[in-house]
């Protein structure tokens, strides 16, 4: 049997067994109770050579249909420059472990330091960690952090305008960790700040979680929330798409204590939902409550500038059951996507991406209203690249009809609401085609 990932020749195996002092590979499992040794054939396909593996995936690929994406809802079809895969595929980055041995991991440590700087800059916060799994879990960790950083608090408040999958994930963590979670209703498509303020009066709230751009695509006015939650000694956490933070008011500018979200829109392909990369940033006073890996600057014994994993006394491998989070890894390679993306885009590029998305989205918005099949759902509310309209067509049918023609658009949002998203990748021609197609959909 030859297999390219196993280098052992029969002679190697024989010699190695001799040194160990056993007669066969089976004898290496001599202490394992015979009842648990699996002697049957595994219910797996026959071993495939590389070309068959390729063929298998090519065939599988044909079962997917590539759609023109006019949908956001937490995963955004932004352009990912060619430089990214070229760098990401370098084995020195791809096949390294967590940078425990700093002396031979300065590459990973430096780009994480750059990532932390860029996330802090975009969110307007003082510092950020080395990344989280995804947006939903970053929000859950933000709430664990609020519980750990405040005293005598028993619950959190989450705005009902947060994306549903994020609310559900936070709710799972809250249920098992053992703190309360209440969802604050929406008012005209945005967080009901009055209702939030009333709940805060109870004094038992560790933190509130609100979106900077909400599930309908509306840019929320978060003024007053920081003061309201700080009076009751809780923390404000703001959930954001960091791409749009290049142009809209940042969590830091709203007075947030914690910023969280998913950085997928910064150069990471859609990948059917993952891997993406969550981020978690905070004010410097809270850094010792921040979960996950953190990279700091230092020097080596020769005085050279160097970088290292730091503040490890917070983490599970030191504190075990006393740690505030169980997180061990980060999404390092995905953080590298983001770091390269932001290096290429820079200040101006990020403005351009948002201008293009804004312009396209507002053009589509106007054209859809002109068809007479849509009306404003939230009159006059500001949006950037994603928006929600009321439709006179059956929402599910509209969505399915567009998918059948190759468009992912008009995502049903409950009742007769549908959501659209336009990024810089969508051309005027594509938008016009979508609109013409929608005109042909029968009620």
């Amino acid at each position: 049997m030859s297999f390219p990932y196993f280098p052992h020749t029969d002679t190697d195996i024989k010699g190695m067994l001799e040194r160990i002092g056993v007669k066969s590979l089976d004898e290496l499992y001599g202490e394992v109770p015979d009842e648990v040794i699996y002697k049957g054939d595994y219910d797996l396909p026959d071993a495939m050579p590389e070309m068959e593996i390729r063929r298998y995936f090519e065939n599988l690929d044909k079962q997917n249909r590539r759609l023109t994406v006019f949908c956001g809802c937490g995963a955004y079809d932004h352009y990912s420059p060619a430089v990214i895969p070229a760098i990401i595929s370098r084995g020195e980055f791809l096949t390294a472990y967590t940078p425990y041995q700093a002396e031979i991991s300065q590459g990973t440590l430096r780009y994480i330091f750059e990532f932390q700087t860029m996330i802090a800059g975009l969110t307007g916060m003082d510092c950020a960690n080395a990344s989280m799994y995804d947006g939903a879990t970053s929000a859950a960790e933000a709430m664990l952090m609020a519980m750990a950083a405040t005293k005598k608090k028993s619950r959190i408040l989450v705005s009902g305008t947060m994306p549903a999958n994020v609310i559900e994930t936070v709710s799972t963590y809250a249920k098992y960790h053992g703190f309360g979670m209440d969802v604050i209703p929406e008012d005209g498509g945005v967080t009901d700040k009055k209702s939030m303020a009333d709940e805060l009066l109870a004094g038992d709230v560790a933190g509130i979680l609100v979106p900077s751009v909400n599930r309908y695509g509306i840019i929320e006015d978060l003024s007053g929330l920081a003061d309201a939650v700080h009076v009751s000694k809780g923390l404000l956490a703001v959930y954001s798409d960091p791409s749009v933070l290049a142009v809209i008011r940042t969590p830091g500018e709203w007075g947030a204590d914690i910023a969280c979200g998913d950085a997928q829109p910064l150069g990471i392909p859609l990948n059917f939902g993952g891997p993406y990369v969550g981020f978690l940033a905070c004010r410097k006073e809270l850094v010792r409550k921040l979960p996950g890996r953190i990279v700091g600057a230092t020097t080596d014994i020769d005085g050279k500038r160097a970088f290292v994993l730091t503040l490890q006394a917070r983490e599970q491998h030191i504190r075990r059951e006393k740690a505030n989070s169980n997180i061990c890894s980060n999404q390092s390679l995905m953080a590298l996507y983001v770091t390269i993306y932001l290096s290429l885009m820079g200040k101006e590029g990020m403005r351009r991406v948002n201008d293009l998305s804004y312009g396209g989205a507002h053009y589509l918005h106007k054209r859809l209203l002109e068809t007479g099949k849509f009306s404003e759902a939230f009159e006059g509310k500001p949006f950037l690249k994603e928006f929600t309209l009321r439709t006179s067509l059956p929402a599910e049918k509209l969505h399915a009809a567009l998918a059948a023609k190759g468009y992912l658009a008009a995502m049903p949002m409950g009742d007769d609401l549908v959501s659209f998203c336009v990024t810089e990748k969508r051309t005027r021609e594509e938008i016009d085609k979508l609109v013409e197609l929608i005109k042909t959909v029968e009620p």
């Binding site: 160990i20 290496l28 425990y100 730091t310 059951e321 312009g359």
Partner: protein, 483 residues
């Protein structure tokens, strides 16, 4: 490896650009956003050209060490070779461009992959059903414990709020238990590192939700009393959780389901060859026995009688633990690896990993202290040098290995010994590589006697040398603008 001292921000010049985007031809732009919702502060992003970016990150990569660079015997991390075909299939445009909320009918290939990988993992582990949504090992642990709690809660058995964790366990075990709202009860190891069943018996009662076990344990030793332990824990109404961090030696040999485990997680980035990416993305699928299947997190994938795949939920599910359906392209890589192994090669995978570990152990146990002299599985632990008179520490040995072109083993873990050196070679390393490592380890043991100062100052040949970690933690500088 060559030292390179720039940060991307230091290459920045006003007006330089690295992006290539269409001109904005729209009537409206983001500057139309009303002032009270507009960003006021500078993003402080760098302005660099595309060649600058490429050269910068290439230079950074030259200060990094990966499995592609050399031998990486990092214990409990299973740094096996990451096959290149896996990377290629995972970046096929049909998957990379797939939106997670596409209608099921337009994502049948992706859903089939999710389904097929689940079935393959069931075959390999003996567990009935899987969720592939958890993002990493620790996330899998947390998800598995949520399932454990949900099982007890759904049966009205609300008093089971404690979980048993061996003192030798990975730090994530007790931390995951705490995040899941469980109280941790520590069970001590016997001198040989295995669980003391007498002490275990004294801990079992109606407050115990279950036990978390790593088998082989963190000393690389198989828990030979596993069937008895399973009977004891089940007898008191608890469940057995299998931490798959150490599953590699059992690949193709032993199925956790046959040992009595009810819930497990696997680390696809360890046992199933997906690259670690400098810390992630990993993937931590959770498998369960059939009576627990309804508690798996949602969304899930089901195949109907017509061969179509559907995304489904369950009323009794422990809940949602991820935005979408896990680190999907990592799942693709793991499945490509399983297809390459097939039913034939898998039979040898664990055995060759075990062969490699025992070979190193036997080749070095005269000069390094081996606390438990038994057959190990995929890894084993030395407690520093055999000769304790030199004052040379495990840290010195680890740093000296870097000079000789090897990654260091895991050090100071498990906590059972003061000078732990945990070595895991994996099955993808050749005898020549192991021999070269053995000879360097012997040379270091010799240097410890003849020139210990060389070890205390090591490494000497790396891009940077030992770091001032104390100052880094005392006065944290976490962003470029604080430098």
């Amino acid at each position: 490896m060559k030292y390179y001292d720039k940060l991307i921000f230091e290459l920045s010049q006003n007006g330089r650009c690295g992006y290539s985007l269409p001109e904005c031809g729209w009537d409206e732009t983001a500057t139309d956003i009303s002032a009270c919702l507009r960003r006021e502060s500078d993003t402080r992003l760098p302005e660099v050209s595309e060649p600058d970016v490429v050269r910068h990150y290439t230079n950074l990569s030259n200060m990094n060490f990966g499995v592609d660079t050399g031998f990486y015997p990092l214990g409990s991390c299973t740094m096996k070779y990451n096959p290149k075909i896996n990377e290629e299939v995972a970046s096929m445009p049909g998957f990379a461009c797939l939106h997670p909320l596409q209608p099921e009918s337009t994502a049948q290939g992706a859903l089939q992959l999710y389904h097929d990988l689940s079935k393959a993992l069931s075959a390999i582990t003996g567990m009935a059903e899987f969720s592939l949504n958890p993002f990493a090992g620790a996330h899998g642990e947390l998800t598995g414990l949520m399932i454990m709690r949900q099982y007890h809660l759904q049966r009205g058995d609300v008093g089971r709020t404690r979980v048993i964790v061996p003192d030798s366990a990975h730090g994530t075990n007790p931390a995951s238990a705490a995040v899941c709202g469980l109280e941790v009860v520590v069970v001590k190891s016997k001198p040989d590192g295995t669980i003391d069943t007498e002490e275990l018996a004294s801990l079992l009662d109606e407050t115990i939700a279950g036990i978390m076990m790593t088998n082989p344990n963190t000393l690389g030793l198989f828990e030979t009393e596993i069937l008895k332990i399973a009977e004891m824990v089940h007898g008191c109404g608890g469940l057995l959780y299998y931490d798959g961090a150490n599953f590699n030696p059992l690949l193709g040999k032993v199925r956790p389901g046959d040992m009595g485990f009810d819930i497990l997680h696997l680390n696809l980035h360890k046992t199933f060859s997906t690259p670690h990416g400098g810390g992630g993305p990993g993937s931590g699928p959770v498998g369960v026995a059939s009576r627990l299947a309804e508690y798996l997190p949602y969304p899930r994938v089901e195949r109907d009688d017509d061969g179509c795949y559907h995304i489904v939920g369950s009323d009794k599910s422990a809940g949602r633990v991820s935005g979408f359906m896990g680190n999907f392209t990592v799942l693709m890589k793991a499945y490509a690896y399983i297809l390459s192994l097939g039913k034939q090669n898998i039979k040898k995978a664990g055995a060759l990993a075990t062969l490699n570990a025992n070979y190193i152990k036997e080749s070095l146990k005269d000069c390094y202290k081996l606390p438990v002299d038994k057959l190990c599985k995929h890894e084993f632990v030395f407690d520093g040098l055999a000769d304790k008179s030199t004052g040379v520490t495990t840290l010195d040995i680890a740093k000296r290995l870097l000079d000789y072109g090897f990654h260091a083993p895991t050090i100071y873990f498990p906590l059972l010994f003061h000078q732990s050196i945990m070595i895991e070679p994996t099955e993808t390393e050749s005898k020549e590589t192991l021999d070269a490592f053995v000879s360097v380890m012997r040379k270091i043991a010799e240097e410890a006697k003849t020139e210990p100062e060389v070890l205390r100052d090591a490494p000497h040949n790396t891009p940077v040398r030992r770091l001032d970690e104390t100052t880094a933690a005392k006065h944290p500088i976490l962003t470029y603008f604080e430098l």
